[in-house]
Symmetry: C2
Subunit: 617 residues, 2 copies
């Protein structure tokens, strides 16, 4: 199977895109009409450039408005095809992708279209060319792969085959079973694209919102399993029109694209070629083992004050490095002030920040193998300064995601520390509930792919939250048992809390760290006694709570007393309490879940209004 | 008629929004549930703040999921309503806006809903409150104003009336004739929103893409004419959910909102109240009379060299100021180097740029009156340095749009110049075809309103153009006889040609000035003889032209020889030739139209690829 990508997926000049595609590991490329038109060089020169980069042109596309035309348009379409064959010859490709007719001149009729394709097949085979026919979701008569397959079948010509595109199939909600009846060798091209669940016209959805497999909501797995079942082993190609990709870094986008193909090809349950290209199946991480902060000694002083107010204790000190461990319940917070470390390098760029997150994993060796197959580069820290040897990959904002071996107790990294036996954990707080990050939308797509392909997380429906400065898009991801959760927040408006935090960090960074408690009121009372400053809620908020939920006046009064927010879903109740922002960038959220499975989206507008007020001070 | 706006239209804190709303001239305001929740102050304090700003709360909204509920939900809904009445009492408003039920618990049936509203009317009237019922486009059973009207009619209660919202009506493409049967005093609230023509689900369209009347594609005029015909004279209110407005300047958005209401209220053919609030109807401008550049002496030297190469002559010199006039055919280019002028102040902020455009108008006095009614502030230049006395309003990027009296020949401003009788105009070029501007999307919405409300321009469908750095959205506007045309370009991607030009100017600026010729080949030959550098097109572009159009090899060769681009539409052919960028920001485009009515969108991708290449050098 040859992994391929259409040039339109990426930004930049034709040359820049070719370089990015080759560098990312692709061997195939789809050339678009517009590539040639905008490139200032001959087709011959383009072919040489592709050869130099080891790229095979899997198809030239699209050839539009061909089938079902009456005279005189029919003859003109064949003339156009011959011109395209000339071009393809010069370009060195033998496959022309024809998409279903959208012209007002087109006539319907399966047999009429089949006859046209038979004749095109005749012409193509004379020139050693082939034709792949695709049903566009917005084709005038043909917009269902079952019809395009029937046309290909009736065209009955060796040079005429099918092109399947996941987007066109899923956007029309066409069933996939018919695929299983198509012989693999009658499929000439497979294009794979994901997309978020949006209800808008097929064309706009397709032209602006497609994304790489694993970044959207379409059931790509099911398609790929059926594709393998047909025996198809031709090009597996990305054709993604996405406004962010078109504006982003070609190199980074191409790398994610390649990764998404490997992931998509192996995410299906049955993968026939269990050969060198197969990748290990791994379990999702169990929970967050530790969160590591990069900070200097002054910032450490302020942060540890806040941690003490939350009930954390200084549990251990690293035997060799300027690193401290603060602990409560199962929450480990590492503070890294060690000079010349990854943390301090990170600190230099981003200031006080979370530079790494450790996740408890099973079978770390397989995870490292999987990471490599997915074109991540596992790192083990600086061998001169880092002794723990825990493998990590780069996650959001180039912070590290450590894969900690969960079978060792105490963990290997814990043995590097000198433990303070006199410390008694308070244990108001017992676990990291989730970590919320602020990032650009481009980085959000990248991060979704990281979390899904490596850590088996699932996406929850995207939520739009209103901030006084504009809208924030929020996407939650979590492991199937909800052991590890991240929420990713992004805003195109520059004055939202999310965007301002991005400015503070000069890039992606942690927005808040949510820690769970079993008793929010006891925790709040403790925090209050410690004089912890918490984010206030408005009087009107509590009046509204009283109208929305069956809460006693006494409960409302208690919530109000401690600035605790409240929500319910069909599974249960939820309590939230935020500290004020630390260094203008992140805060701690204390949560209590009684069955509730969301992240308090209903309270976000209130919280953001309060945080925006805090930032404006 | 009281002009009103919903707080959700604007960005910022509740207080900031109230200030912006009052400042823009509104007397009415709609208060949203979320305003209260996020505002850290009591309802009493809010009421005082509104009073201080002279704002009347025309409605509190929305009250959701009320009608058609079975027990026990029905009783709870009435309980909720009573709580809202309490709140409204404190807030000082008597109108509760109820939108049609979207809850899965809701039951259908016109009579059932009517009974519920009758009961709600009873409760409301006991407290001196009233109810306005609105059919949401995505209501479960009620999504058509004809049904909500039938429910209100059958509810048969003085305290229950109708709320009409243009968005919900147009998005369902409901006919407007039924409106004419509704007595004006049975309508309690009119909400007006425009939107671009998009096909997506009603909810997403409504929540993100609404815009002010005059900024979108909905036939607001028709609605307003019918509204006046009913005799309605209650609140005329804006309820606009728009991502850009939510992120932009509250003050600027509020001002545009107020302007859009005045425009919408008077754009309808029949406006009954021809009183103090009526605004003069004016003719569209005839053509571009002049374009004024702000530049320094060095830049002037380079620009006049380029103008000479295009066949322009130095026709006149200002009698008192450091200003020159260059002319060809009916094109007047003014170069303003006068110290302490508006031009030089503009130059200080934006560098070499177009600081003003003069349009030939009929009845300038009425236009000035109209401008004032639309809350533009007419300016006449600095009385110490400007002698021409031509009125202007601020247009895109705070450049000036002059309204030149077309009845005087020579124009008043021409008499300020000393004419060089020895100059013979070359007249290859005869007229300004259009002016293309780069701006932010927010500014684009603002500019559309300026051009439509003041200069009777019409919008053409928005086009998306692919740039190597991302997508560019392009919106053309022109007067009905096409005498004056502008194209507005905006891009959310930072590396597009459009965005880079924006950077160069530090704001909105001219992208290109298109000048029309009757003989593109003669003009091109002249320019070539003058060694004018033109933007190249690719070899592949001309190969593709040959495949797309019936052009002789000779014509193709001639086009190629001079870098001329070509396009056709159903009305005729179009030729385009671009100079390279001047000062990295604008260029001249030479066009020949043989019936063609577009702006060469088919060639934009090629042109942008070439300009991006030029910028990268």
């Amino acid at each position: 199977m040859i992994y391929s990508i259409a040039t339109v997926c990426l930004s930049g000049t034709f040359r820049e895109r070719i370089e990015a595609i080759a560098k990312a590991g692709f061997r195939g490329i789809e050339i678009f009409e517009s590539d040639l038109i905008t490139h200032n060089g001959s087709v011959k020169e383009i072919r040489r450039m592709l050869d130099d980069h080891g790229l095979e042109v899997v198809t030239y596309q699209p050839f539009r408005d061909f089938e079902g035309l009456p005279a005189p348009y029919r003859q003109k379409a064949f003339d156009r095809a011959e011109r395209k064959f000339d071009l393809m010859e010069a370009l060195g490709t033998d496959l022309l992708m024809v998409c279903s007719n959208t012209s007002p001149h087109a006539l319907g009729g399966i047999q009429r279209a089949a006859d046209d394709f038979h004749e095109l097949g005749e012409r193509a085979s004379k020139r050693n060319m082939r034709i792949a026919y695709e049903a566009l979701a917005w084709g005038k008569y043909v917009y269902d792969y079952r019809d395009s397959w029937e046309i290909v079948r009736r065209a009955n010509h060796d040079a005429v085959g099918l092109c399947l595109d996941t987007f066109h199939i899923f956007s029309r909600q066409t069933e996939l079973d018919t695929m299983l009846n198509i012989p693999g060798d009658r499929i000439f091209l497979v294009q794979v694209a994901d997309a978020p669940s949006l209800s808008m016209d097929h064309l706009s959805w397709s032209r602006h919102y497609r994304c790489f497999p694993g970044q959207g909501d379409l059931p790509i797995d099911h398609f790929v399993a059926n594709m393998h079942a047909t025996g198809y082993d031709g090009p597996f190609s990305l054709e993604i029109f996405n406004d962010q990709f078109r504006a982003g870094s070609a190199e980074k986008t191409a790398r994610d694209g390649y990764r998404s193909l490997v992931f998509a090809n192996h995410a299906a349950e049955k993968t026939p070629d269990e050969d060198a290209t197969s990748i290990p199946v791994v379990s999702p991480p169990r929970d967050i083992e530790f969160i590591e902060f990069a900070l200097n000694d002054t910032e450490k002083k302020s942060l540890t004050k806040l941690l003490s107010q939350l009930g954390f204790s200084h549990a251990a000190t690293h035997k060799k490095k300027h690193v401290e461990l603060w602990r409560q319940g199962n929450i480990n917070l590492v503070m890294n002030m060690e000079p010349d470390s990854f943390a301090q390098n990170f600190h230099q760029h981003h200031g006080v920040s979370v530079c790494a997150v450790g996740m408890t994993c099973d079978n770390v060796k397989d995870m490292v193998e999987r990471a490599k197959k997915l074109e991540f580069t596992p790192v083990y820290g600086n061998p001169n300064t880092d002794t723990h040897g825990i493998p990590a990959i780069y996650g959001p904002g180039e912070s590290l995601l450590y894969m900690v071996d969960g079978s060792e107790k105490p963990a290997h990294w814990e043995r590097e520390f000198q433990w303070h036996s006199d410390v008694e954990a308070q244990a108001f707080l017992n676990k990291v509930d989730h970590i919320a990050l602020s990032m650009s939308y481009e980085e959000m797509l990248h991060s979704v792919l990281v979390f899904r392909s490596m850590f088996s997380m699932r996406t929850m429906p995207t939520v739009n939250v209103t901030d006084p400065g504009g809208l924030i898009r929020s996407q939650a991801l979590q492991t199937p048992d909800r052991g590890v959760s991240f929420t990713l927040n992004s805003s195109q408006a520059s004055r939202t809390v999310s965007s301002r935090i991005l400015d503070q960090y000069a890039g992606t960074g942690v927005n808040h760290i949510a820690l769970s408690t079993k008793d929010i009121f006891a925790t709040a009372a403790f925090m209050d006694a410690q004089q912890t400053t918490t984010l206030p809620a408005t009087v009107n908020y509590y009046d509204d709570l009283a109208a929305r939920f069956d809460l006693s006046d006494e409960t409302i009064a208690k919530l109000k007393r401690f600035n605790i927010l409240y929500d319910e879903d069909e599974n249960g109740s939820f309590y939230q309490l935020y500290t004020t922002l630390f260094a203008g960038r992140f805060c701690f959220e204390i949560v209590q879940r009684n069955g509730y499975t969301g992240f308090g989206a209903a309270n976000s507008q209130m919280r953001l209004a309060m945080q925006a007020g805090e930032m404006a001070k």
